[in-house]
Every structure is written in structure tokens, then in C-alpha cells.
């Protein structure tokens, strides 16, 4: 006979085993959690360390995409605001832009759904500006291995930022940058743009096309700033045949040329036929191929106005000229006037296959200036210069070429620039609400 049971185990001893075993999961839980495969999660698929060297190329592509997106958007909205386009549908936002009654609450100016059909345009301009600035800053900080202030990427990014800021100066009455204050006037923004173009031009390794584009850009802002000597100097350095274009693609909707999309595709903007339809060369009856329009037999989607489409941007992949020798030449023509201007006009025509030449009826400088203005708008049709040009003509020559009425006959409100969006003012800690 044996004495069995738990005789030799104390009460505490009897508890240790089961309690210990039952606590194993609690002890195992933190250990399990410490195991990387359990608690580690994949980073958000769209998070990146943008400062790494391997991303410089991708960052440049991103900045290029941002610039192109900003550019076609700018052409659309500035075009509706000026005489290049008008709202052909009953689209409320476009109608308000057409009437130049856009206020600081306008959804057209800051729509968040950038990649949808209702693209705003305050944000795209700033995306282009910021992405280019970040690349420059990262290069300055040495974040990208092998990239320096003398690298071509630095020059290209600075040129991008210069153009983005130029468009902002052209379109907006005032601006702020990088989510911070202060509030800049258009003149101050032109100055910032000039600095960026100068920064690009100071880069030893600058590529030829970037240099020419930066010169065109700086010439444009200097013209806006009434630095005629500076503008003339820069423009004179640009090959008249030079052309740098933003490229688009029909592969994805996101890459579509928005000028085409709004004009041909969606049909909510039409070329303002009052300003551009039936233009001939010097009233000869010979159509001007630079502003050839097509009257779309299908009216706008909601039975608004007739739809005039620009042959110049006839597909989703049509490029848009960003900077050109043409513009440089017209800058020279505007400043120099006289015979030089006449010569430039005819040379520009020739480059576009136009054999008809023009000569002034007399020696009136205003006649030549007006011809320069007219030839410039035809040559640079839908190339993003009209908004700045109209503001300059009004300020400098007292020529108000903004449309006084919409095609429907409604009087426009007379604004010459977009007000700073309220969404920027309300969320930018450097600004104050009115």
C-alpha cells in the first residue's frame, strides 16, 4: 500500500504548475508580438523617403508631371478668364470664370479633386512649385548622392519652379507659398520667379533646352516687371527656333491634355469664337493656320453654347509649347518695335509656314505695337501667355482686352486676376483672414 495523492506537494506547489502553464499565453503574447513578422506592417504603399538618391530621377519625373499638369490646367482656366475660351456648357464654375466673377470661395480655384474633370488650378500651380523647390533643397543639402548645385537636375528644377511661379503671378492677384506666409503681390512673385530662372542659368551643368527655357521665362517676367533691358538681353539669347513642350498622353486619363479634354473631350469650354474664329492673315481672307478652329457639330453636353474646338490641341496627347523662341522674339518685338518688330512678325509667320508677310501702313508705333500684340496672341495661342499679356497691356498700354461680355451677352465683372483662395488664407498659418 502506498500513500498517494498530493501528499508531498504543498498547496503552493500544487498551484505553480497549472498557473504557470495557464500564464504561458500571456507571457507568449508579448513575445509573439515582438516577433517581427507578426507586428511589423508593410509601409503605406505610397510612402517614400523622397530624399534618397535613387529617387532623384523619379522626383524629377514627378516634378515634370506636376509642371505639365499645372500648365494645361493654367491654360484652361486662364483661357476662360481671358478671351481664349468661354464656358460652353452650363457648368457653374466655368460660367463664373467666364464672367470673371470668381471670388475667393470659388471651387474652380482650389478643387481638391485635381485629377477629375473639374480640376482646380491653385493647387496644381503650387504642386509644381513645391515639388521643384524640394528637389533643389535636397540637392543643396546633399541628400542626393552625386547631385550638386552644378547638376543639370538643379537647373531644371529651378526652371520648373520659375515657370510655376510665373503662372501664379500671371493669374492671381496675390500669393503665398509652401503652406506659409507671407502674402506676396504679383510683382513680388515675378521677382521670385526671376530669381529661380537666374538660379537655373547660374548652374554650370545646365542643359541647352533648360537654359533656353529659363531665358525665355526670365525674359517674360522681366517684361512683366518692366525691366525691358533685362528682358531684351535674355530674349536675344534664345534661338528663334527653340521650343520646349509639355507632353501629354492618351494612355491614361490622368495624362490626357486637359486643354483637349475640356475643349474636345468633355466639351465644357469652347474657344471664344468672337476673338479667334475666322481669323485671316491681314484680312486677306487667307485663314491663319495658327488659330484654326473647328465647330463641333455636337453641342456641349448640356446644351449650352456652340462648341468651337482648337485644331492646335486636337488630341489627348497633343503637346503644349511651354517656352519658345517665338515668345522670345515677340518680347524683342514688343520692346524694340519699329522695323525690328515687323521683321520678327514676318519671321515668326515664316516659321509657321505662313508666306503672307505684313508691313505697316504707316510709321505709327501704335499700329506696330497692336500688330505685335495680335501676332503674339495668334502665334502663342494656347501657350499660357495670354493672361499675363492682357494684364500687362492693361497696365502698360491702357489696353483692356479682357472680354467685356460673355457670349451669352452677360457683362463680365471686370476682374483682372483671381483673388487668393479663401482655402489658402484659412489654412495657411502665415496669412490672416480678411
Amino acid at each position: 500500500m502506498r500513500t498517494a495523492g498530493l501528499k508531498y506537494r504543498s498547496r503552493a506547489g500544487r498551484l505553480i504548475a497549472p498557473v504557470s502553464i495557464s500564464m504561458v499565453p500571456i507571457l507568449a503574447l508579448p513575445l509573439a508580438m515582438a516577433c517581427g513578422s507578426l507586428v511589423d506592417i508593410a509601409p503605406e504603399p505610397h510612402t517614400i523617403d523622397a530624399s534618397r538618391r535613387v529617387f532623384l530621377e523619379q522626383a524629377m519625373i514627378g516634378a515634370t508631371s506636376d509642371l505639365y499638369s499645372a500648365y494645361d490646367t493654367f491654360i484652361v482656366h486662364a483661357g476662360v478668364f481671358t478671351d481664349e475660351f468661354f464656358a460652353s456648357s452650363l457648368d457653374g464654375a466655368a460660367l463664373r470664370e467666364d464672367l470673371r466673377e470668381v471670388d475667393e470661395n470659388s471651387s474652380a480655384s482650389f478643387a481638391e479633386r485635381e485629377k477629375t474633370i473639374y480640376s482646380g488650378w491653385w493647387l496644381p500651380q503650387h504642386k509644381a512649385s513645391v515639388s521643384a523647390r524640394v528637389i533643389q533643397e535636397n540637392i543643396e543639402k546633399g541628400e542626393y548622392e552625386g547631385a550638386t548645385r552644378d547638376s543639370p537636375e538643379y537647373a531644371r528644377a529651378a526652371m520648373y519652379e520659375g515657370f510655376a511661379k510665373t503662372w501664379i503671378a500671371d493669374a492671381w492677384c496675390s500669393a503665398a507659398f509652401d503652406g506659409e506666409g507671407p502674402e506676396y503681390t504679383s510683382e513680388e512673385v515675378y521677382s521670385l520667379a526671376e530669381q529661380r530662372f537666374t538660379r537655373a542659368l547660374d548652374v554650370a551643368g545646365i542643359e541647352a533646352d533648360v537654359r533656353s527655357a529659363a531665358l525665355v521665362g526670365r525674359a517674360r517676367v522681366r517684361l512683366m516687371m518692366n525691366d525691358q533691358a533685362g528682358a531684351l538681353a535674355d530674349a536675344g539669347l534664345v534661338d528663334p527656333d527653340f521650343e520646349l513642350a509639355a507632353t501629354y498622353s492618351s494612355s491614361t486619363i490622368e495624362q490626357n491634355n486637359r486643354v483637349w479634354w475640356h475643349n474636345w473631350g468633355y466639351g465644357n469650354i469652347s474657344v471664344d469664337y468672337r476673338a479667334y474664329s475666322g481669323l485671316t492673315l491681314d484680312d486677306t481672307g487667307i485663314p491663319d493656320p495658327r488659330v484654326e478652329l473647328v465647330l463641333d457639330p455636337i453641342p456641349a453636353y448640356d446644351k449650352g453654347q456652340p462648341l468651337w474646338a482648337a485644331r492646335k490641341v486636337a488630341s489627348a496627347s497633343s503637346p503644349l509649347v511651354l517656352a519658345s523662341g517665338d515668345e522670345a522674339q515677340f518680347i524683342v518685338a514688343e520692346i524694340e518695335g519699329g522695323a525690328e518688330a515687323v521683321s520678327i512678325i514676318n519671321a515668326a509667320r515664316a516659321r509657321h509656314g505662313i508666306t503672307v508677310t505684313w508691313s505697316p501702313a504707316g510709321g505709327d508705333p501704335d499700329e506696330i505695337r497692336d500688330k505685335v500684340i495680335d501676332e503674339r496672341r495668334r502665334t502663342l495661342f494656347l501657350e499660357g501667355t495670354r493672361m499675363g499679356d492682357l494684364r500687362r497691356y492693361a497696365d502698360r498700354y491702357a489696353l483692356d482686352l479682357f472680354p467685356a461680355t460673355s457670349p451669352q451677352g452677360d457683362a463680365t465683372r471686370g476682374a483682372r486676376c483671381y483673388p487668393l483662395p479663401l482655402v489658402e488664407r484659412a489654412n495657411n498659418p502665415g496669412l490672416t483672414l480678411p
Binding site: 503605406e44 522626383a59 503652406g179 507632353t247
Partner: protein
């Protein structure tokens, strides 16, 4: 056989007799073995059986008369006997065999004799106590050598109706033996040890029952159990974080429990879990956004308690967290609008395989459920097996679904130039002409949705078939089910097919360990029609009808001529294309294909282990894997409206969503004193979610038979991966005094991968108390049979969505030289300080039962506040970021009440009529936006989703029905800083449901349910088209009819249009809906005697759902909305299909 004895010296009476027992010699010869130790003991020591002593046949030692008290749960028999012996001053001896047998008992005796206490303890255990004249006791096997088992059988019926009750758990206490009743209420438990036992019966909705039963060897004892209904289930075990059983009485928060099996039997179609839950639990809103088959319901507990993070509660199935997405499936192609119906993962589950649903409502109760549980938890328990003979239930349900909505007519102003100047002109009679009494204009009407010749609706046929079985033995129990459910919607491209399989297994290797396996699999295919805000919607196209291009309806119902032909002698070509619709015939729209295919597995293993008496542990490990394919195809068809849809469109997405759960808890139960008990629980959870998707989108086909992305002209592909991890642990301490006063405190710590980098763990404290006054000694109110006060406080959390904290970039492409170059651009700014929303709540209430629980009621008041509510803050666009930034800036308050009162209005032997009224209120309000600007749906001081608009206060019409210029007076705005007038809340602030169930003669049951929602306003985005809102396009034809349909103010608001942005169709959203009417009949046994196949029961149920709606709302239906199951605050429908009417018949057999 070696008979070894271990003796315990207890008290003072260790006598020579006991020593004699200790010295029992091994029984070595055959005769001695045959006689058994009992005989030997009696011969040698003059020990007497306890039952002989208590029967008075033999003089009992005086110690057996000593008064003792003992209350123990699940303790070894020897421990209980020792404690009794100790109190009585007796000695006790037992052998090793007793310890090895691991006999566990529960005992609760107060101030009884030691003899009674011994008898109670040893009853039914198969052991017997022998007591010597000196008071020494020894425990030996009872009646060794002969059979000692018998059988207990019987039936369980409703005490009021006599109706057999299915799924009642009948247990022989202290033996581990039991059975579940079959569909007729019968049960049978074999191998019950001889002796007197306590037989207990438990069933949700009935008061606990127990009775004594004497089991004789080889005989069958028959017991008739009559259960009394009771809604106050204080001893009911409810879901909790504790590893040991938690009774309702011990928790100070309201955790309602829905008996799904009973609900289906009484009132519901067994097809949709949302239907079953609808109007069943006060405070739980199950909104039906659409009448489409398979459309998701929005589920909210205690209303809106988050501004941005969704309000869908967490869902647990058998203890593991599962996918709770109510906004899944293909979305309608809708020109960028958000409106469309969705499908819900909640409805993947088969209601027939669910035993019950418990709802853990507010933060006071959910604080211990982790960092994502702040909005509430729905805990689903599937059916389990039972220790009984295998029982099968075979069931089929057939149903028809019918669209009963009254869609609006379309109007066409017949020009006088056609010569039609008389409304009775016979040429236009097929178009039900009507004259505008104000303007004199004549309108022809058409309604493609109501015209029998053109309407797209069909009678939707539904059918489901199921087989379930359950059974098992003492160690193993099983449950399985399979169900095939096939439903047609009333629209031709709406259908749902679902196959559910379930296999549950419980294994009890020994009395301390139970391992439960749960396995559920779903295979489904749902066709979701385009509707709502979709240009492809049949309701859309029919509602925006074009009468000029419609065929008339002749008096005999046949098709007449085309109106354009009648009036203008035009070709009927456009009538052929449109048949009165906006752009195309319904058959052109029906080719649009919108589908979700799903395979889903939910599995878990739960081990419950009680290694020692006071320690209970539970480990649950599980996963939920959802594989879906969402496929949306709009084939090339030039006749379809809108250019981009004519060209064709496709999206094809494959996604896998996995949720892993590990849940562990250990609870220690201690009797600190005789009256004070303590339960300490320590636990931890780990959850991991992974979502992977891959898909493509294409537009423009070159062939009508093209069905793939790469057959489209423009297509893009995308993939995505999202993961999240949540981990936490908690400590909970509960004290119980006299089983009447319970106080619980807990603290939980959580970490979640959704928190920003700068955020550490968060702490969630909670406390609650429950006082069962009716258990107190001073309680003398006999008419109030149960009364409990409860109160709870807690702070729970709701984590932000995964990666909301992260700064992200967006891929972009540039085409250069024919090459596609990829880069990235800034997207979302992120927020490293982002953390969970904190939800704090106080909840107080009571439960009561009156007149022997014939009238029962519950009441709860809650007051909750969400701080750090996540708001998506705009960032300055000049920063370059496209997206908003999630910040913890807001505060949302909410309070309300929930109450239920249930009464057996008539309770006779032949008739039981029960009426239950439930009511709840909610008053969510945005207390702060943290300085962020308001919007037209979220503003400080208003309910989330509030409605506002400029309002025309007065206007005048001239004789021609036109608004007099200058007569329009706008109402004074009452929302500061706006031109808007506050209209009201968009969501009901109070809801009620009335359920009535009458059982006649125990066989015939008639049940019906009404529900009501009120306190809110609602608009219908589509009704404007019945009373045209602008002069453009299709609505212009109906413009002049406003004068007879609208007030001058409404007409003025419409005509002012965008000038004042006034929207006029805000109506009170109040409604009363007659949800269902069900009649069930239990066939008598006599009738089944002639049925072959061993059918033990048969039940026939017929019913209808959505029978009538009373409302002043002018839209199609007061409950629907176009946002499907999404968590948006929008409540407006926009050509949304109203709920259809369902009739079903169900036949269930028990085998």
C-alpha cells in the same frame, strides 16, 4: 486489486474506527472482491450508509445534526465533504480512487444539518458516505459491483402555451450529463448515475428551471418541465472578456441578447442577418438603404459617434474578430457621385446557423475590447452540438419579392399647335392627360416604371434549403449546417446566391478542458444593379421619363401609338429606342453587369481550461479570410445613354482581406469571505488585418463581346496593400457581495499601428456596478419579482484608419519619346501625432420583472462624449499636398435612452399573447470642430449630417401661375455666418418598435412587428424631377406643372434655383412601417405518425415583410438612401429602389 486509502485528519474525532479503515487489508480473494469493500467495511467497522442514517433506520451520530453552511462552485467532491466534516466536527477518510475519479460538484446550502449537506454533496456522484457511530465518515464507491445508471427523459414546454420548446439545455447537475431538446421539446439523457439528482433546464427568454429527479438503475425517469417566460435573465451568461462565466447580474452595463433562432422561428425570413437584427435591439439601428436584394444595411449602435471614422460596430463570431465592412462590392458607375448600393460582409453570415447575438453597446462596455471598439461590438455565437442523440432539422423557405413602389409620372406639355386644346381629346387619352388649372396647359403623362407593358420589374423568386444537425456525447459534441440561398431581385440584373457551410465541434478531453472548433465557409455571388446616382439605373431612366417618346396605354392595356407620331406624325423610331425612358429601353440597361463573387472562411479554435478550481483560462485563435472579385462590365452599345457608357466600361478587381485574432484571458475566482467573492481577469489580444487588392479599369471597347480590361481602348491597372496591427492587454477586478452587489473595475492598454509615430500606447479605464435589489434581504415587494440597478463608466477608443498618419506620395507618369516614365508627387501630408478618438460614456439603468416576470422591462440612459474626434483638416494648398490631414480636434456628444417593456397580456393555458415595446433616443451633436471651418453637414452645435438651406418664407403667384417678381421673401437665416436656415437632423432621434406574438393552443403562433422612426427630416434627390427644378433639358417639359404640385414658396425656391440655392423638398422623415406578419403552425404528433422517415416534428410558417408604410415624406421611401452601406451622413435617396414586399413560406422538419 489494491485498495489504498489516504486519510485526512479533520477536527477532533480521529477515532480508532477511522484507524480501522486505514488498516483495511488488501482484498485478495475472489469472494472478498465480489462482496466489495462496502460489505467488508460494514462487517468490520459497523459503518452505516448515510441514506440509511438519514432515513432514521439507524441511530445517527450527533454530529450529523450539526448546522453547516457551504457554497462552492465546481470543487472536488472530497474538498466539499472535508469542509462539511470540518464544520460538523467529524473525521473523514477517502481513498486515492476518489481523487483519481476527479468528481466535481457544486453545492449551495445554508444552515442545514451536516447529514443534509453530505447528502446534497454526494448526490448523483456515484459515491456514498458511510458513517460510524462515533462520527467518523468514509467515502467509497456506491453499490460497487452492480449497475448504477438509468435514464432521464421528458419534454420541455412553455408553461403558458404548452408548446414544446426547442434548443433547451437540460443538465443533470454535477454529472456533466445533459442534452438539448429537439424541435418538439423532447430530450433524453442516458447513463445517469442512480440517485437523486437536480435536473436543470436553461433557455434564453425563460426563467431558469430546476427540479429533483430520482434515477433508478436500469430505469427511465420521465420529467415534464414547464418553463416560464422571463425577459429578466440575471443569471444568464453573457459575453465578456472574462475567462470564467459571467452572469448578466454581475455586469453594470446593458448587454442585450437576441435569440436569433427564436426570432427566425417567430417573425423573420431566415435569409438575411440584417433582417433578423432589424428592429430587434433598442439602440441598434439597422437601416435598409434599398430594396435591392443583397443591398447592405447601415448598422449603428447608439447613433452617430464619430464624424469621420465610421460607425459600424466591430463584429465577433465565436470570439474572434471578423470583417465588418458594410460598404463592399461593386459601386455603380455614377459620374463621380458617391451614391450607389453596396453589399455587407455582415450579410455573408447565415442566420440559421447563429444561436444568438449579443450587443456590447457603448464605451462603458466596450472599453475592454480594444482600440477599435469604441463604436460598439456585436458578438455572434453560432450554434453548438449537445450531449444528446443526433437531431436533424431540414428546412426550406420559398419566397416572392414584389416591387410595390409608386414611381412618379413624367409629364409632357402638349403644344396647342398640335390642335390639342381639350384634355378630353381622344388622341391623347392613352397618356392620361391632365390640365394645369392655373395655366390651362395640357400635359400627357407616361410612366415606364408603372406601365405594365414596359416596367422592368419582375416577381423575384427566392428559395433556400438547409440541413442542420447536432448531437454528440459526453466528450464530443458537434453541429453542422449547410444552407443554399438563392434570391432574385425585382430588377432583372439583381440576384443573390449564397452557400453557407458550418461545422462546429466541441471536445472535452476531461472536465477541466474544452476545445471548441468553429468553421464557417461562404460562397456567394451577388448581382447588384446600377441604380441610385447611376446613369445606367433603371429607376433613374424611368423616373426621368420622356413621355413624348412613349407608347400610349390603351384601355384594354395594349400598347398604343407613339405620342410623337400622334402629335407630330413623326416616326416612332425614338419611341422604339426609349419607350418613354430618358435615353434607352430597360433591356439596354440590363446588360450592365455589376457583380461580386466571394469566398469566405471564418474559423476559430477556443480552448477553455480550468487547471485548478479557482483558475479559468480561455485562448481563442481565429481568422477571417475574405476573397472577393468585383466585376463591373458595361458592354459596348451605341444605343445606351451618355457617350462614355455607350463605348463600354470595365472594372475588374480581386481582393483578399484577412483578419487574424488571438485572444487570451485568465480569470481567478476566490471566495474572500463567505459572502465576498473576487474574480480577477488578466488578458491580452492581438489582431492583424491585411488587405491586398489588384485590379484594372478600362473604357472603350471595339466589340460588344469584349469583356476584359485589355480589350478596352484605355485601361489602367492598380494594386494595393494595407496592413494593420492592434495589440492590447487588460486587468479586470470584480467583487461580488452576497451574489447581489457587484463592482467591477478594469484598465486596458492598447497600441495600434494606425497611431502616429509620436503616439504611444493608450489607456482605457472602465468601471461598473450592479445591485440586484430583489436579492437583498430587505426586498419585500412581491409584485416586483426582479429588480436590478446598474451603472457603468468607461473610456474606449476608435483607432484611425490605417496609414492616416503617414505622409504619402502618389505615382505619376510622364510620356517621353514613346516611353512611360514613372515618378511620384506629393499626396497626403500625414500626421505623426494622430491617435485614436477617445469615447467616454456613463450609462445607468435598471432591469425589472413584475408579477412573476409576466411584465418585464429594462431602461438605460447613456451619455457619451467623443474627444479627439478625427477631422480631416484642409492644409494650405500652397503646401503642395492634395489631401487633407487627419487631426484629433473634434468633439462629439451624444445621449439618449433605451427602454423595453414586455408583457404577457394574455396567458392562459390556450392563449399566450405577448407584446413587447422597445424605444430608444439618440441626440448626437457636434460640440467642437477644434477651430476647423464648418461644412453644410458638420457644424458646431448641430447634429452630424444636419440639414439646412436657404428658405423661401413667402412668395406670390400671379394668375398665370408665375411667381410675381419681387414677391419672394427669404426666411431670416438662423445659422450664423450663412444664408441658411436650420431644417433639422438628418437621422432619427427616436425610434420605436412594437412586436406582438400570440400563441394559440401551443401550436399556432401569429407574430407581427411595427417599427417607427421620427424626429428627423429627409429629402429625396430624385423627387425634384417630378416637380421640375430647372428649365434645362428633360425637366423643362414639366416646368409649368409646378403650379398644381407645389406651394408658391416651393415654386419660388425652385425657380430661383441657383440664385438662392434653396432646396425645397425637406419633409419630416417620420414613418411607421409594418415590418412583418408571420403565422406559424406546429403539426401535431399524431399527424406525423403517418409520415415515414422518422420525422419528429414539422413546422409550417408563412409570412410577409414590408407590408405597409405610413409617412408624410414625399419621396419614394422614408428609409432608403443612395449612399448604400457607407458611413456617410447622407440620407437622401436618388432614384433608389424602395424596399420590396416579401412573402415567404417555410417548412421545417425535425428528424
Amino acid at each position: 486489486m489494491m485498495q489504498s486509502i489516504v486519510a485526512r485528519l479533520v477536527g477532533r474525532s480521529f477515532t480508532s474506527a477511522a484507524l480501522a479503515v486505514l488498516s483495511l487489508a488488501p482484498l485478495t480473494n475472489a469472494s472478498a472482491q465480489a462482496a466489495g469493500s462496502t460489505y467488508l467495511l460494514a462487517q468490520q467497522s459497523n459503518y452505516q450508509r448515510l441514506d440509511a442514517l438519514t432515513a432514521g433506520r439507524t441511530a445517527a451520530p450527533t454530529q450529523l445534526a450539526m448546522q453547516v453552511s457551504l457554497r462552492r462552485q465546481h470543487v472536488p467532491l472530497q474538498q466539499a465533504l472535508m469542509e462539511i466534516a470540518s464544520q460538523a466536527g467529524m473525521g473523514l477518510s477517502y481513498g486515492e480512487e476518489l481523487a483519481a475519479a476527479r468528481v466535481s460538484i457544486s453545492i449551495d446550502v445554508r444552515n442545514v444539518s451536516a447529514a443534509t449537506a453530505f447528502a446534497t454533496a454526494i448526490r448523483g456522484t456515484g459515491w456514498m458516505l458511510y458513517v460510524s457511530p462515533s462520527g467518523q465518515a468514509v467515502v467509497l464507491r456506491d453499490a460497487a459491483g452492480r449497475s448504477v445508471v438509468g435514464t432521464v427523459s421528458g419534454s420541455v414546454v412553455d408553461a403558458a402555451t404548452g408548446e414544446g420548446i426547442a434548443a433547451v439545455t437540460v443538465l443533470v447537475e454535477g454529472t456533466g450529463l445533459g442534452a438539448a431538446t429537439g424541435s418538439d421539446g423532447s430530450f433524453r439523457i442516458a447513463n445517469v448515475p442512480e440517485g437523486v439528482h437536480t435536473l436543470a433546464a436553461r433557455r434564453l427568454g425563460y426563467a431558469p428551471f430546476s427540479t429533483s429527479v430520482t434515477v433508478l438503475a436500469n430505469e427511465e425517469a420521465t420529467v415534464a418541465i414547464r418553463l416560464v417566460r422571463s425577459a429578466v435573465q440575471l443569471d444568464e451568461v453573457v459575453v465578456s472578456v472574462s475567462a470564467s462565466d459571467t452572469k448578466r447580474a454581475s455586469i453594470g452595463t446593458d448587454i442585450p441578447r437576441l435569440d436569433v433562432e427564436d426570432k427566425i422561428a417567430k417573425a423573420a425570413s431566415s435569409s438575411s442577418l440584417s433582417d433578423v437584427l432589424h428592429s430587434s435591439v433598442p439602440g441598434v439601428d439597422v437601416n435598409l438603404p434599398s430594396g435591392q436584394v443583397g443591398a447592405a444595411s447601415v448598422i449603428r449602435i447608439r447613433g452617430i459617434n464619430s464624424l469621420t471614422q465610421g460607425t459600424t460596430p466591430l463584429i465577433y463570431v465565436d470570439g474572434v474578430r471578423v470583417n465588418n465592412n458594410t460598404n463592399a462590392g461593386p459601386q455603380s458607375f455614377d459620374f463621380g457621385y458617391n451614391g450607389s448600393q453596396s453589399v455587407s460582409r455582415f450579410d455573408d453570415l447565415n442566420p440559421s446557423e447563429i444561436a444568438d447575438i449579443q450587443v456590447i453597446k457603448g464605451p462603458a462596455a466596450t472599453a475592454l475590447y480594444g482600440s477599435e471598439a469604441g463604436v460598439g461590438v456585436i458578438a455572434i455565437t453560432t450554434k453548438r452540438g449537445a450531449n444528446a442523440g443526433t437531431q436533424f432539422t431540414v428546412q426550406t423557405e420559398q419566397s416572392i419579392l414584389q416591387d410595390v413602389a409608386n414611381y412618379n409620372d413624367g409629364y409632357y406639355p402638349v403644344p396647342a399647335t398640335t390642335g390639342v386644346t381639350d384634355v378630353n381629346d381622344p388622341r391623347i387619352q392613352p397618356w392620361r392627360p391632365v390640365r394645369n388649372p392655373v395655366t390651362g396647359e395640357i400635359f400627357a403623362r407616361a410612366n415606364p416604371l408603372m406601365n405594365e407593358a414596359t416596367r422592368p420589374f419582375r416577381i423575384g423568386w427566392g428559395q433556400n434549403y438547409s440541413v442542420e444537425g447536432r448531437g454528440g456525447g459526453e466528450r464530443t459534441k458537434f453541429y453542422f449546417s449547410t444552407k443554399y440561398d438563392d434570391k432574385e431581385g425585382t430588377l432583372p440584373n439583381n440576384a443573390s446566391r449564397r452557400l453557407n457551410l458550418r461545422a462546429n465541434l466541441d471536445i472535452t478531453p476531461n472536465e477541466k478542458l474544452t476545445i471548441s472548433f468553429s468553421n464557417g465557409y461562404v460562397d456567394s455571388r451577388i448581382l447588384v444593379p446600377h441604380n441610385d446616382h447611376s446613369a445606367l439605373g433603371m429607376i433613374t431612366n424611368g423616373s426621368l421619363s420622356f413621355p413624348l417618346y412613349s407608347y400610349g396605354v390603351m384601355p384594354d392595356g395594349s400598347r398604343g401609338d407613339c405620342l410623337a407620331t400622334v402629335l407630330f406624325a413623326s416616326s416612332d423610331s425614338l419611341c422604339r429606342v426609349r419607350q418613354g425612358n430618358l435615353s434607352a429601353t430597360f433591356d439596354k440597361l440590363a446588360t450592365a453587369h455589376n457583380e461580386e463573387r466571394l469566398g469566405r472562411y471564418i474559423g476559430s479554435v477556443t480552448a477553455k481550461w480550468q487547471p485548478i478550481d479557482w483558475l479559468s483560462t480561455r485562448l481563442a485563435v481565429g481568422m477571417d479570410r475574405v476573397d472577393t472579385r468585383t466585376y463591373q462590365l458595361v458592354p459596348l452599345d451605341p444605343d445606351r445613354p451618355f457617350a462614355q457608357l455607350s463605348d463600354g466600361f470595365i472594372t475588374d478587381g480581386h481582393a483578399t482581406d484577412r483578419t487574424y485574432s488571438i485572444d487570451y484571458a485568465a480569470s481567478g475566482t476566490f471566495a474572500l469571505t463567505e459572502k465576498l467573492a473576487s474574480v480577477t481577469t488578466l488578458g491580452g489580444q492581438f489582431f492583424r488585418k491585411e488587405y491586398e487588392e489588384m485590379g484594372c479599369t478600362g473604357s472603350g471597347f471595339s466589340s460588344p463581346t469584349a469583356t476584359a480590361c485589355d480589350a478596352s481602348i484605355t485601361f489602367t491597372g492598380a494594386s494595393g496593400l494595407a496592413q494593420s496591427v492592434e495589440r492590447g492587454g487588460f486587468l479586470q477586478q470584480q467583487f461580488a457581495l452576497n451574489d447581489a452587489i457587484f463592482v467591477t473595475g478594469a484598465l486596458r492598454v492598447d497600441d495600434n499601428s494606425g497611431f502616429g509615430e509620436q503616439v504611444g500606447s493608450i489607456w482605457s479605464p472602465s468601471a461598473n456596478a450592479s445591485v440586484v435589489l430583489s436579492r437583498m434581504s430587505f426586498w419585500k415587494f412581491d409584485r416586483i419579482s426582479n429588480f436590478r440597478l446598474r451603472a457603468g463608466w468607461g473610456k474606449a477608443a476608435q483607432a484611425p484608419s490605417p496609414y492616416a498618419y503617414a505622409r504619402t506620395y502618389r505615382p505619376v507618369r510622364v510620356e517621353s519619346g514613346g516611353m512611360q516614365l514613372s515618378g511620384f508627387t506629393m499626396y497626403a501630408p500625414g500626421n505623426p501625432d494622430l491617435t485614436a478618438e477617445r469615447k467616454e460614456e456613463i450609462e445607468v439603468g435598471f432591469d425589472m420583472g413584475m408579477f412573476a416576470d409576466r411584465v418585464t422591462g429594462t431602461f438605460t440612459y447613456f451619455d457619451q462624449s467623443t474627444t479627439g474626434a478625427i477631422i480631416y483638416r484642409r492644409v494650405a494648398p500652397s503646401s503642395g499636398y492634395e489631401q487633407t490631414q487627419a487631426v484629433n480636434l473634434g468633439r462629439l456628444d451624444n445621449h439618449g435612452i433605451e427602454a423595453t417593456i414586455s408583457a404577457d397580456v394574455v396567458a392562459t393555458s390556450n392563449v399566450l399573447w405577448n407584446v413587447t415595446l422597445s424605444a430608444s433616443t439618440q441626440h448626437p451633436i457636434v460640440a467642437s470642430l477644434g477651430g476647423q471651418p464648418p461644412s453644410n453637414s458638420i457644424r458646431e452645435g448641430y447634429a452630424p449630417g444636419y440639414l439646412s438651406s436657404p428658405v423661401v418664407a413667402s412668395a406670390e403667384r400671379d394668375a398665370d401661375g408665375k411667381i410675381v417678381p419681387g414677391s419672394v421673401v427669404m426666411a431670416t437665416p438662423n445659422i450664423a455666418g450663412t444664408d441658411r436656415v436650420y431644417i433639422g437632423t438628418a437621422h432619427p432621434t427616436n425610434e420605436q418598435s412594437l412586436a406582438s406574438s400570440a400563441t394559440l393552443f401551443g401550436r399556432l403562433r401569429v407574430s407581427t412587428t411595427f417599427s417607427r422612426a421620427a424626429g428627423h427630416y429627409k429629402s429625396d434627390g430624385g423627387i425634384r424631377y417630378a416637380t421640375p427644378f430647372s428649365r434645362s433639358q428633360h425637366v423643362s417639359e414639366m416646368y409649368a406643372l409646378r403650379q398644381i404640385m407645389l406651394s408658391p414658396e416651393e415654386q419660388a425656391a425652385l425657380e430661383l434655383g441657383n440664385a438662392v440655392n434653396a432646396f425645397v423638398f425637406y419633409d419630416k422623415g417620420n414613418f411607421v412601417r409594418w415590418r412583418d406578419l408571420t403565422v406559424g403552425y406546429e403539426l401535431p404528433s399524431a399527424a406525423l405518425a403517418f409520415v415515414p422517415g422518422g420525422i419528429s416534428s414539422a413546422h409550417l410558417t408563412v409570412g410577409g415583410q414590408n407590408l405597409h408604410t405610413w409617412t408624410a415624406f414625399r419621396g419614394l421611401d422614408p428609409e432608403i438612401r443612395d449612399a448604400g452601406g457607407s458611413n456617410s451622413f447622407g440620407t437622401s435617396p436618388y432614384f433608389t429602389q424602395p424596399p420590396a414586399r416579401l412573402f415567404f413560406v417555410r417548412l421545417a422538419f425535425g428528424i
